[in-house]
Amino acid sequence: MTLNQVFFGYFAFVIVLTSLLVVTRKNPVHSVLWMLIMFFHVAALYLFLNAEFIAAIQIIVYAGAILVLYVFVIFLLNLKQEIGDEQRVGEWPVGLAIALSIGLLMLIPMAGIKVGMMGKWGVKAIEDETHTVALGKVLYTDYLLPFELASLILLVAIVGAVVLSKKKKKVEGQ
Amino acid sequence: MELGYPILSTVIFLPIIGGLLLLLISRANESVIKWGALAVSIVTFVVSLPLFTNFDKTTHLMQFTEGGPHKWIAAWNIHYYVGVDGISVLFVLLSTLITILCILISWNSIKDKVKEFYIALLMIEGSMIGVFCSLDFFLFYIFWEAMLIPMFLLIGVWGGPRRVYSAIKFFLYTLVGSVLMLVGIIVLYKQAQTFNILEMMSRSYPYKLQLMLFWAFFAAFAVKVPMFPVHTWLPDAHTEAPTAGSVILAAILIKMGAYGFLRFSIPMFPDAAKAMMPVMLGLSVVAIIYGGIICLAQTDLKRLIAYSSVSHMGFVTLGIFAFNSQGVEGGILQMINHGIVTGALFLCVGVIYDRTHSRVIADYGGLATPLPVYAGFFLVFTLASIGLPSMNGFIGEFLIILGGFKASKLVGVLAATGVIIGAAYMLWLYQNVFFTEVNDKVKDLKDMNGREILTLLPLLILVFWIGVYPNSFLSFMHVSVSHLLEKVNYGASADMNLAQIFIDLIR
């Protein structure tokens, strides 16, 4: 077993463990925190896969922005009382069974995948340009359209957030 | 043949356009609407008359055809193509005539949503005629289905107490049947690559396909006829519909099923039709007897007549599937006859229903005393329904039984029993309504007025016209029917040496 594999084993173990904790903790705040740990480990895995930029945004965007948003909302909603309630839906065994069977069915095909054709961005090519530059090049040439679209989606998100969470207007004209 | 105007399109679309024009008339002007509808229907009838006078009886080809090469939906090779032959021409005339009578009989009885009523009626007329004229299968199907909508409304809006149930039942029953036909049509199209009926007929199809398609079409046509196990919509629909609705149902609409058999099932799937002959004959006989006997237990005037339709239409299908010229011609003539007679009977019931608002036989009795003229009319139609010689029913039934007997002795014998049963229930009905002591409820009723007499008179004349000189109608069919039978590969040779064949059959 190479060192790489040992490290992978560690990260994988932590990722799975924290994932499990995320979906089982009663207190949403705890879940968010376990998730944070998981995100760091995922980012570390990305580093293994020569994807430094992705690892960075995993931490910056996911951990830094999204999760913080979650925490805000959780505090905003003040869910103290809810924590004491039953956390699983009544039919949870059904959900469990279905999810596990899907998981079982997925494992074998997933493990057996043979990758398709090779691209030109080998480790060497990326290291030559650094990952950020490489990804940037691709993003701004071939993937310009998706990139722009992503911005549009973010715009929608802004508009949506404003529209939906604005406080009730004082009734007009009365 | 040159008429100066496209006669069939005019006859189809005049009522439809007339109906649309009625939309423009204000709801308040009821009398304008009525007179307008009447005018449209009369003009349509007059316009359709050249079909009778100018028809060339010496050819089996389609006549008065229009729009042959003109494509309607090019992508699917669909044409607007109409025409009539000896089989269909009489139904067009019957439709135009019956509509006038329907408008007349509804004159005072429809008081609610008057405008919609007459529009619906004219729409039905247009689509009915369209069904009989279409030479494109797709066009045919459009008219066939389009008719459901106004008919559904006619039953459901202006009908009796259980109208909603009956209307939905009618609609679903017929829809289920016709969607299966739709699949059949498409499968046929896949084979023939055209919807042109004449071209479809000129091809031959593999036996298995024929069989499959025969049953697909059977679903649609048998429900419409209605044949035995799928007849139960008919009593409800006939009973609950307003008079005009019952008349149209009885006189025209249920003919479409039998017409469909003649126009499509038999010429397109001759082998399957021949193979299925015993089944069809069997179902027809069951319908004749079952429909007849069940009449004996009816307590509702319209329901009884409705069940009698089942029996009479059994004769029609029997004749058609006997596959000999007597049977088929008798069948066609019987369709006309049944249209006239049952239509007239429903008109008659409408006359009395307007006065009493009751359909229960027990509410009547002794009507002949206060309403002698009415009794006379009803009597004539009753007797025509029984099939008395010199009236139209006899000619049709005799030819059918003759044809049926030729096809199968047992079937002929059983069908003939229908004649006995028919006499029993119709006379029972007549007796209970018109004879015996005068019921207090009907003592002071007024006899028919001029409008009502005018409504029934044309049918009365037709009853005797067909009965005494049926040739003026039968002559339309000869060539077309013999052509049809040649197609079934049965007619021509069988007819020429019929006695010999029968003796061979006897052995």
Binding site: G112, G116, M117, D142 | I142, I149, G156, V157, L172, K190
Partner: protein
Amino acid sequence: MQYPDLGPIMPEIAFIAAALVVLMLELVIKRKEAIGFLAIIGIAVAMFYMKGSFGATFQSASNPQEFMFVSDGYSAFFKVIFFVNLFMSILISLKYLKIEDSLKGEYFSLLMLSTSGMMIMASSGDLIVLYLGLELMAMSTYILAGFMRNNTRSNEAAIKYFLLGAFSSAILLYGVSILYGLTGTTNIYRLAGLVAAEDVHSSPALLLSVVMIIVAFGYKVAAAPFHMWAPDVYEGAPTSVTAFMSVGPKAAGFAVMGRVFLISLSSYKVEWTTILIPVAILTMAVGNIVAIAQTNIKRMLAYSSIAHAGYAMLGIIAGTRMGLAAMMNYLLVYAFMNVGAFAIVIMLRSNVVKGDELSDYQGLAKSNPLAAALMLVFMFSLTGIPPTGGFMGKFYIFMSIIDAGYIWLAVVSVVFSAISAYFYLRIVVLMYMKDQEKVPELSLSPALSLSLIISFVMVIAMGILPSAFIDVARVVSLIL
């Protein structure tokens, strides 16, 4: 560095620009109806550019094979459907939102952004673009569903739609990732050749991927058993949004289904039909059968829309050019008739009457014969009775499916079609054959009337003179 040719994508650019303008102007314009009008101008502008965008792809300079965006007749046809849907939805919204006290400028820009998402989906040449278009459309629709934010039902609709939508996107992404892993590309057209390769074709992972993609698309078009959200969301969302949602995202879903299944996975047809056929049957069954028990018209129309998804799916299953044309034609008819029906539903919503219970329709023929007559036409069209467009649509679908050899499937679907008559007829029965208890006060507006006129005329026109529409659909279905 070469500047890419923006020609193919000009309609989208113009349209999105219009959406942004609308979003900005909302801040200054007080009369919100004017914003609706602006949105319509946006449609007109986009339509103007669409003329020049035919038959081209938007691609990067570096790799001509890696185009992201296809502007062909197929997508153009769908864009027309989206525009029709948007246009009609705007027309029916104006009065309704006023009554609901939710008339805000963002509403129109969100409708437009959602529509641009659909346009991108229809035109996507790459799974990445497809995903983003889908998300753009979906996110806007989530917001629209919850637009009446003070209404718990609207909130509930939004949350359900959102949760399940996110769930299905995750599944889609997993499918896409496997496809990517197996082939090394995400381009829809290049996938076609790669999937056909022996070792990819026989890989069980491909099955996994296809199933996941079917599930995700099935969710978007509300096909059973992934339809469960639809009735709840349709009922809870503002009625005008329901009208919008029941046509647009569905059509967009079919657009991408057509492209992905018939191009990328065309060599895998035997396998995906194995799933799609049961799904289609189940969809028709659930849609038509459960609709019978409904008492709320929006809910009933939701089930009806599920059922219609089943019919449209038959076009995909046929897998031929004809099937595709049939599906497109069907969706166009469906846009008109469904929005028309919703227009009537909206018409019944007044300050006093909620208007979405079936019993509200009682006696409509008496109090408002015209509205009843229009509803009658729409109902019969949805049932598929000639001479309405609905019939022609269904006919084409059945024709294509039979042409492809699935006669039994056609029989099954016509039977369901007959069953559907039962609940559509119920509306007609209520309108025409029941006595009225209260006189429903209709909220008419010129815009609403216009939308009704358009849908009525189109439904009839497509029934009587379908040739033009069919020919277009046939021509543009040339992608195969």
